[in-house]
Each structure stands twice: as C-alpha cells, then as structure tokens.
Symmetry: C2
Subunit: 567 residues, 2 copies
Amino acid sequence: RRGAMGRAMGLAGLLGGLFLVSAVLVGTSVRHGVPRAGAELEPELAEWDPASGAFAEDSLWPLPQSLSTSPRELRLAPERFQIVHGAGSAAGPACHLLQDAFRRYHEYVFGGSPWRPRARDGLGAGARREELAQLQVVVASSDPSCSGYPRLESREGYHLTITEPVAVLKADEVWGALRGLETFSQLVHEDDYGSFLVNASEIYDFPRFAHRGILLDTSRHYLPLKFILTNLNAMAFNKFNVLHWHIVDDQSFPYQSISFPELSNKGAYSYNHIYTPTDVHLVIEYARLRGIRIIPEFDTPGHTQSWGQGQKDLLTPCYNGRQPSGSFGPVNPILNTTYDFMARFFKEISRVFPDEYIHLGGDEVSFACWKSNPEVKDFMKKQGFGTDYAKLESYYIQKILDIVSSYNKGYVVWQEVFDNKAQLKPDTVIEVWMGNNYAEELSRVTKAGFTSILAAPWYLDYISYGQDWKKYYTVEPLNFLGSEEQKKLVIGGEACLWGEFVDATNLTPRLWPRASAVGERLWSSRNVTDLKDAYKRLANHRCRMLRRGIAAEPLFVGYCAHEARGQ
Amino acid sequence: RRGAMGRAMGLAGLLGGLFLVSAVLVGTSVRHGVPRAGAELEPELAEWDPASGAFAEDSLWPLPQSLSTSPRELRLAPERFQIVHGAGSAAGPACHLLQDAFRRYHEYVFGGSPWRPRARDGLGAGARREELAQLQVVVASSDPSCSGYPRLESREGYHLTITEPVAVLKADEVWGALRGLETFSQLVHEDDYGSFLVNASEIYDFPRFAHRGILLDTSRHYLPLKFILTNLNAMAFNKFNVLHWHIVDDQSFPYQSISFPELSNKGAYSYNHIYTPTDVHLVIEYARLRGIRIIPEFDTPGHTQSWGQGQKDLLTPCYNGRQPSGSFGPVNPILNTTYDFMARFFKEISRVFPDEYIHLGGDEVSFACWKSNPEVKDFMKKQGFGTDYAKLESYYIQKILDIVSSYNKGYVVWQEVFDNKAQLKPDTVIEVWMGNNYAEELSRVTKAGFTSILAAPWYLDYISYGQDWKKYYTVEPLNFLGSEEQKKLVIGGEACLWGEFVDATNLTPRLWPRASAVGERLWSSRNVTDLKDAYKRLANHRCRMLRRGIAAEPLFVGYCAHEARGQ
C-alpha cells in the first residue's frame, strides 16, 4: 500500500549496499545519536555563549544517525572551495536541481564570499596542506530524479566523508544529496580569525520517519508568497520534507482556480489576497528544489464557507423551521451538481499539484445544518441512513475519495473520517490531530491497518510562556500500544501552525525554532532525547538560521554574533 | 511633590481656559468616550472587513475624550494639502520639532505622495469646494518647549477643529500638538477610488494618566538600535509617552559608559552588542521629537551580575562556609568604594539622560549571599541591624537615593523597596509589579502618600493563546480601595516586555497591538470599555500600523489591505 513502504531504509541497508565505505578517518569520538558527554549547562539558567569552545557537532540540527569526528581541522578557502559532481555520479551539470543546490550551499557556508573558477591545474597543485578543496557529490541511482518530484518513498539517506583534500557526499537520490549538503554546511564553522574550518568527519544519516511536515494555513490569514518561500528555506534547514498547505477554509479562498475563477474572485479576502497559478507553480518548484513535497489541502465538506461565495448551490441551505435561514452549512451532499463540481475541481487540483497525495480534510463537520434541511432529511430516508448523519458524511467522503482515486492520487484525511466509521480505502492516510489521547487514536488507526501521521502534540499555534520547544521535543510518536507492524504504519508527523492569530508579521518567529524541535524528533534516532545537548545545538542552529535570513526567535537569554537585521 | 501634579488637566479646564472654542460644525453624532451604537459584530466570530462602511472614528486609537463628527466629508489633495503654523502660534518655522512632525504626518496621511509648494495665491483661489486645504497648528504657551524635553508635567491636551477650508489644531504645548497630529492623521481615510477624505469634526482630548510607558529590556537580549526607534514610532501612534529603558541586568551590560568603559567592554555580550553614547543620544532625541521621555533603569543592588565583570569589588563575594565560593551576589553595600563608584556612575547617567527621573530598580534582592559573607555580618552588627537584612538593603538604597537626589533627579523604584520598609523620600515613585493583589499594593503605597505606577497586570512577555489584549484592556487601574486623594497618586502605568524570550526577531509583533490595549486604557476616559467597539477600532489601527511599517500582529482572522512586506 501507499505510504507504509516509504519508510527510510535502515542503517544496515545503507552500510551493506549502496555505499562504498572508505573511511580513512583518524577517528576519535563516535556518536550514534548519543549526546556528547560533559555538556553541563543548565538550559534554564545558562547564558549561552556561542563563542565558547564550539565543536562543529554542537550546532548540528537535526542530529545525524551516526557521526564520527576527528579533532583534525581542515581549512576551506571561499575563493577556491567548490562543490562539484563526483566521478561516477549519475548526476552532472545537467542536473539543475543540484547545480542550484551547490551554489546555494556555497553561499550558506561562506556567507556570500565569492568563488572564482580555479586554474587548470585542478586539484593537485593549487591545494594547500590541511585544506579541504572540494566537496564531491555522487548520486548512485541510475535515475537520480533531477527533474522529478520528491515522494513519500524518496530516499533521503546519505553518506558524508570529510577528509583531506576532498570530501565525498554519496546518496542514492538527489534528495539524499540535498540533506547531506545541509549537514555539510552545518559542519563548517569559523574560528576567531574568520577562517572557515571543518573537522575530518564521517556521517551516515537517514530519516527516522518519511513524512516530516509543516502545516501552514493561508485562509485565516493570507501569507504573501515571499513568506511561504522563506519558510521553505527554513524547512530545508531543518530537513522537513512536506509542506501541508492548508490553502482554503471558511474564512477565505485564496487559491485561484482555472476552472472556477469565481471561487477566489468572490471567496478571497481581496484581489490582492490570492495565489495565482504562477504563484502556486513557483511554490511547488521552489519546494522541489529543496526536496520538499507540497500536499495541498482542500478541506470538505465542512470548513467551506468561503467556497459558497463563488459557487452557487454548493453549500447546504440551513433552515429555521420551515424557512431557509439564509445561512449555509457544509457542502450539500445530496445533489449531483455537487459531485460534478468536485470532479472538475479535483481534476484541476490533481493536475496542478504534482504530489501523489492530496489532503481532503473531513474534520469538524457539524450536522446541525444538514439536520435542519428537509431535502437532506428526505435523502436520508431514501438512503436508509435513519438519523445517523455520520453515514451521510461517509457517503459524501466516499464519493470524493472515488473521484480523487480516479485521478491516480492518494489522499490524507483528518481523523474524524476514520472515527466516524466512514468506509475507507485501505490506502487512506489518517492524520491524528485531537489532543486528548492521541496515543490511543494511533493504536486504533494502525490496528485497523491504516497509515498514520501524527499532528496532535505539535499544534504550534497554541503558544505559552517559556521554553515550550521542550514539550514538542519530548514527544515520542511511537509511544502507543501496538505491534511492530502497527508502529511501522506511523509514517511521520506534522508541526501545525494554524492561522487564526498568525500572519506575515509573526509567522516566522512563531514557527522557528519551535518547529525545529519537531524536525529533530522526526529525523533523528529515537534515543536522541537529551534536553541539555539539544538546547546547545538548537541555540546554535537558531543563530545559523538568523544568518541565513530566517527570523527565528530566541530559545532563552543570550545572543547571536549576527542579530536579526530586519524591518 | 514630583509626579502627582503631573496629571492631565480635566475637560473643564480645557473648555474653560485655554482654547477659544469656535465650533462651526454641522454637528451630528457626539461621542464622549461612548461607543457608536450598532456595532453588532461578535469579535470571536467576526471576519472583520476593513472595507465595510468605514467611519473615520472606527479606526481612532486611543479614543479621544470627546469627539463630534459630521457626515460632511472634506477632500484632501496630497499635492496641495499643508500642515502649517497657524496665526498667533508661539511656534514657527524655527520650531524644529514641529517642522519634523509636520513632514512626518503628511507622509503618514498620504503614504508618501508628494507635496508641492503652492502658488502664490495662497489659500483662497486654489482651494476647491469641499476641500480641506490646510491644518493650522497653534501652540498657545509663550514657551512652546520646541527644544525642551517632555516631562511628567507636560501638557498633552489639544483641541482639533476640522472645517472647510482649514482645520485648526490648538494646544498649549508642542506635546499636545504632537498628540493632535496623530489624531488628525487617524481621521483621514481613503475612499474606494483612492481619494483622501476627512469628516468635519471637533475633538477635545487629553490623557487620563500622565505616565504611559513601555518597558523594553536590552539586557536579556540586545535590541539593535533600529528596533528601538521603530518601537518609538509605534509608541507615538498609540500616544505612549515614556520608554522605560531597562538597559542593563544580570545577563549583559550594553550601556557604554564614558566614566567606566570596562562595564560594557567586559559586561556586554560582545562588542557588537553595546549602545554607544551616540546611540543613546539618538534614542533620546528620536523620542523627544515624538514627545516621549526616556527613563533609563540602572537596577541595583540585585540584578547586577554583568556589572561585576567590569568593576572589581563592586559585587559581594559569596562564601561557602569560611571560603569565598567564587560567585558573587548583589552590590556590596558595606564598602565606601561602592558609593564612590555609584556617585561617579550616576553623575554620568544624570547628565546623559535629560529626563527628570531615573529608575533605580531595587527589585528581587536575594539576601543569601550577604548572609554568607563574614564581613557583611560584622557590618550588620556594627550598624545594629541584627539579622534584618532588609535594613541593610534600605541602608544601601538610602545612600543611592541621596546620591541621585544630589544631582537633582527624581527616581522610580520597584515595589519591594517600599515593601521592605526602606526609608523613602516622599517624592519616590513606586512601580507596582507583583501580580498577586496589586490592587492592595496600590492601596498601601498611595495610603503611605507615595506616587505610583502600575505595571503588574501588563507583563506582556507572558504570552498565551488567543485574544489576550482583552485581558489587558479590561484592567481598571483605579479599582482599589482608597480615597480620591490616593487615586490621584496613581500617575499611570507601563506595559512591560521583559526580554528573556524576546529579541529583534519577535519584539514588534509580540508588543503590538497588545500594548495598544494598555495605551487606550491609560489615555482614554474610564468609561471606554466596550470590547466590541474596541475590537473594530483596534483591528483598523493595527492595519494602519502595518502601513506605517510596524509589524503588529493580527488580533484574529481577517486581513489588511496592505499586508506586511518585511524580512
């Protein structure tokens, strides 16, 4: 089935098969997801000092699955250092995705210092002792996916060996190469004199979970394109790979449909508050270049007030006794026109969004309006649903799933669709969001054989005073009753930033670095749980995000060498 | 005594004395701090629509004491409209403060549309029917304070009459003129076709409280100068008049002292994280031009760890049994060198900061270290303090107050200085900050005859989910047991944004518009308490702040015509 098979390959697979391991490290400290001993700082009290004896690994985020570092430091010369395609790589200069990533990470590493083409002598003569001259990137798969889209099944593992005079980054697919470039960029640090250094190191790495998402909500507040792109950068810095784009909801319909332009003409906040087809394509491509999937959510039958503005007869008219009250409820499930509309609409969505999954919502459907409507009541009788409106909801959902299936798409739904006992296809992905007893829900969903994504403990719109990142960090997604088979059905999780109180003014600092805590939980080994160690690495990581233009808020007191410029 | 006399003059005084009231309004709705009827929206549910039938007064914030508006709309032509000194004004083109304010508010009103010098025909011929051609500003006092600093006693009342063809803004002092210019700028609105309109109106206005402050903390995190200046703009938009600059604390000492440069050399986070004398002067002047006082806080004897880095023997050595433990406690109160240092230090502070008040802190002094130190114990005996370390604290505070008094400065202290029964001069201002039973504390402080500032219910660093601005808004500062005389001793309040979790990345959206709620409570009439009306005005006001470059966060779902650009 979809989803379950997409879990990252294990360390054994990595070591045994794909990579020619040729570690020539002087080899000292080995770290397998276990924090470095001697990190004595007390996060609540610490005045964290980024200048104090920084180890390269003190800023790695999320922590790799396996890391060996040597005290031996290699120097990098911004004007000479290159990121290049290695010998035997299936990818070359025609791989636009990597070409773009090489330039991007050169800039992240050196902060925009110029690179100049090297003289013809190549590696040998020009390189100095103790210098790292190149990072060679080798993509193994005969189909490196340079022009494809990341998928749930994409392989993100990589093997990074940093020795003099060249470092080698090996990955099966470009998606692993992207993750390895991020890690490499995090390993390079500056000394007190501004020299760029990297410790000789070897890293084997792969994600614990295949689905590592951020939910953004562009309906409660419109988010200008620029902020979505900035967030995609931040996601890449934290090895997230899914943007769950909750694009429309009751409050507004900013998606500009090609087939139904009235939806945004009437349903968006204003003509300035829409995403044109060009905007959408730009988001998808910007994300693709960073190994991030875009899963759009078009939530029905509830949460659809804004749809009703531009599509006549789509919503159920509510009644006040015998008279229509003038207000409208969920999508009207009894009309053929509803399904004609949905078929055309989701045909467009299926084409516009290349990802194999669409999120179909299905949460918080209120039955009150359906119950008030005499025609709906008649329909219930005819169908033999009695007074069980959950059956009507299932009837609707079933038809929508059939429509979307016919376009060869998989789908994700919120947990109520499962809770209400809708007849679901076995390849449905259930997103668990309700805060009370989410562990029990995970048990039930996976026991029924469904693939699941966990969002419940990571509703980042719920803010509170203090270091709440610890709360998100200490969640263990697989801490529920169930067999090993059941646990494998949990393919990942999502940090959700619902938009009631979030817009462009506060999105970035509210999301980062709080979401980073979720990022490490979903990427790193299960035993990476030391809060003191995490505090130090995350404080450094947030300063790095600042340098890269992400206005991530502070964890606690302290400073960054380069504070936010902004505004 | 200082402070108490500074309260704003009443409406009666305004009407009776200073202004020649020449209201020629067609006169319709009169509003005396009472919300317009018919605002039916339910804030929790409302999808607020800034385009729907906007009345000019729907965006006024804080609400003036008295407002009459007419439906008659006057048009403003950006290229012709001028803000000028009116006939009989004590201020003229030599008043740099007003010249600067005129240009600034022209830009706020018209969003940077150009103004061109008018042809020689002056007012008459050029002006069209229904056009507002000028705002004439008349400052009455023979000493308009153009080059002075705002003070607690400054008069901020004004009288604004908007009729064709000229509007007149009258104020006793330039400080009132600044407040009136802000109100005028809030009254001008754009219609659907982009025309600038203002309703014929008359406003009498003055602040309810004389001290309306924002506390910023630049020690837990350094705030780049630019963000402090941006915040001063936001303060002016909300008629705040005091920046309480909590400039140093345990964590860092960013103030670059002229007399003791080692304090920041050793005590600042880094050389990039200091405020030079030039920076400080710039903040003071930028604030002055907006009618804002800068009250610096140099908190002692506690909260001084960073002072100890650059000033030997200033802090008390703590003992572990008979041995110094290597750590340090509060300022050492038993050494003459301490007071020599403080005398020189506060002499500098008194010169650098022109405000009549200095905040001397005095909060959260832990006695543990003093108790551990044998020399301190000897001193206690000699002084006859027994084991009452509050007496030692009072001894220290008394000496500091004497020093600061000798430089002709008044001072503010945190409530513990009063609670611990220090012998206080009668002109001490007590800042009440402890959350439990602040009303009782206000009773006690004012009963003892001291002037008081309320901060306790307005600790804006304590964030929570949802519309917490309502919590700040519904505080009534005078709701405590006490005589009328006691109530007069409460001269105002402060919204405090402590810096543990705040730096340049999140300062502005965390502070605004939540602090705006405090701003209206401290400026407007006591009976301005309607939450629905406040919601609508504040939502509009926050969109206006966005347009003016303040990244104020949203109150709830909705949008602004111009979203934040930022980053």
